[in-house]
């Protein structure tokens, strides 16, 4: 298994994007993505064109849609769900998520703490978060300046609170890509652990929660229990547990690159443990947890210490 660079939240001229499906595919290839999902607002009208262009040009394009409801947005990828966005209400949203997932599609809560009405109506998640805990993925970061600002902090805190309560929901980033962005502001990547960059394998990786999100740092993160290595998203057996970490600069990251790493933090239901972190060096830590364990990576970027990467969790025990 390896980690593939993905963008799971994109738009085209078939909704309010500025690139045609073919232009989106071309741009994604230029930007080094292994796979993208097309998630136009409430329509799959561009999917056939994007998938065809992807096949011709060598990019995995996963069919999808963004349910753009009045009370919140969800990216739904896999292309099999028959849920009609107009039928989703605060009362039935949990059932609609399950119905989409029953077809094999992956559901992510999109930019839940972004400002909604009157600037971007529906962008803020007004649903009862308790009804959304069955979603597969949560956009911990989204759009530009993903690791900065109040919305990013609130999304991270809400995601952690879901993990604290025993829910299993993987962290993803959503570029919410609408235009060509030749010189993009700060943005991030979602890396998905999979056997290949095929649609099926990426969807499997997302379902397993084998993801991390990053601003300019590749993270190799494994758990070791009883001599066996486990990928992010795994449910670990009981026993002494080591977390093995190493980091590499993403050389083709197009915005401000991190100059150095400052620390890694391992977060569990018990608290946070800080570790040294350096590009090109492995860090290993013994860790004890009973519910979940995630890793955050910090470093200097734009002349200040920033959170640069977050992994989805390793889990233990029963699922809530």
């Amino acid at each position: 298994m390896r980690y593939f660079r993905c963008e799971l939240h994109t738009h085209t001229t078939l909704s309010d994007g500025r690139m045609t499906p073919e232009e989106l595919v071309d741009r994604a290839l230029e930007c080094g993505y292994d796979a993208i999902a097309l998630t136009d607002h409430n329509t799959v009208a561009g999917v056939k064109r994007a998938v065809k262009a992807g096949k011709e040009r060598g990019l995995t394009v996963i069919p999808g849609i963004e349910w753009t409801t009045f009370w919140g947005h969800f990216t739904v990828i896999g292309g099999k769900s028959d849920v009609l966005w107009r039928d989703i209400t605060p009362d039935n949203v949990d059932g609609m998520i399950k119905r989409a997932q029953s077809t094999g599609d992956i559901v992510a809560i999109a930019h839940p703490r972004r400002m909604g009405y009157p600037l971007c109506s529906g962008c803020h998640c007004d649903y009862d978060i308790g009804k959304l805990t069955g979603a597969d993925n949560y956009e911990v970061w989204s759009h530009y300046y993903p690791n900065e600002g109040v919305a990013a902090r609130q999304q991270k805190e809400q995601w952690y609170s879901l993990l604290d309560k025993g829910h299993r929901i993987a962290a993803v980033y959503g570029y919410d890509w609408h235009s060509r962005d030749d010189v993009p502001p700060s943005y991030a990547y979602t890396y998905v652990g999979a056997e290949s960059a095929s649609e099926r394998d990426i969807l499997t990786g997302l379902k397993r929660g084998a993801t991390y999100i990053t601003v300019g740092v590749e993270v190799d993160c494994k758990a070791v229990v009883g001599g066996k290595e486990y990928a992010i998203g795994s449910v670990l057996p009981e026993g002494e547990t080591q977390i093995k970490l190493s980091f590499r600069k993403i050389e083709d990251y197009r915005s401000d690159k991190p100059s150095r790493l400052t620390k890694a933090e391992i977060r569990t239901e018990k608290g946070v443990t800080a570790l040294p972190a350096e590009f090109g060096k492995q860090t290993t830590a013994e860790i004890s947890f009973s519910r979940y364990c995630t890793v955050s990576v910090y470093g200097d970027r734009k002349r200040e210490e920033q959170l640069l990467a977050i992994t989805s969790a390793f889990y233990r025990g029963g699922r809530k």
Partner: protein, 150 residues
């Protein structure tokens, strides 16, 4: 060309977050459907109202300031946003979601634009739905015309 739907529809603030359904009949099978929809006003140019509305909802949603007053003013003028969906006698034909308040669509069995899906123009009951994503003026007037023909 035959007009199968033509009208003006007034939406008010009470319609925020609702789907306004406009049924119409296609009397006989046709090759293509042409839809022209526009609405106005698009913007609310009252700056003080805009800043107050952003501030109120920012605190309601985030519980803390997300932006400075200068950043709020940079977001003005606030605008109305409507989405449009179409249902044929056989089911959903897609949704057009974009900012423009003046849109034209052509739909037939082989092709469609704007977010709609290719669809045979069959005789029977159709529905055009206006989804009120954001209304920040006292009212919006929607002008709609659907024609079928070659």
């Amino acid at each position: 060309m035959r007009t199968v739907l033509e009208g003006q529809y007034v939406l008010t603030r009470k319609d925020q977050s609702t789907h306004y359904k406009i049924p119409f009949v296609v009397p006989e099978d046709a090759e293509k459907m042409y839809i022209a929809v526009s609405y106005g006003p698009k913007y609310n140019y009252d700056e003080e109202y805009g800043v107050a509305l952003i501030r109120e909802n920012m605190m309601k949603q985030a519980g803390e300031p997300l932006m400075s007053e200068g950043e709020m003013r940079a977001k003005l003028p606030l605008d109305n946003h409507l989405s449009f969906s179409l249902d044929s006698p056989d089911g959903p034909v897609g949704t057009a979601h974009r900012s423009s308040n003046n849109q034209n669509f052509t739909i037939c069995a082989e092709s469609a634009d704007g977010g709609f899906y290719p669809c045979a123009i069959k005789k029977g009951n159709w529905v055009f739905t206006v989804s009120v994503t954001c209304i920040i003026t006292d009212q919006i007037t929607v002008s709609l015309k659907a024609e079928v023909g070659e």
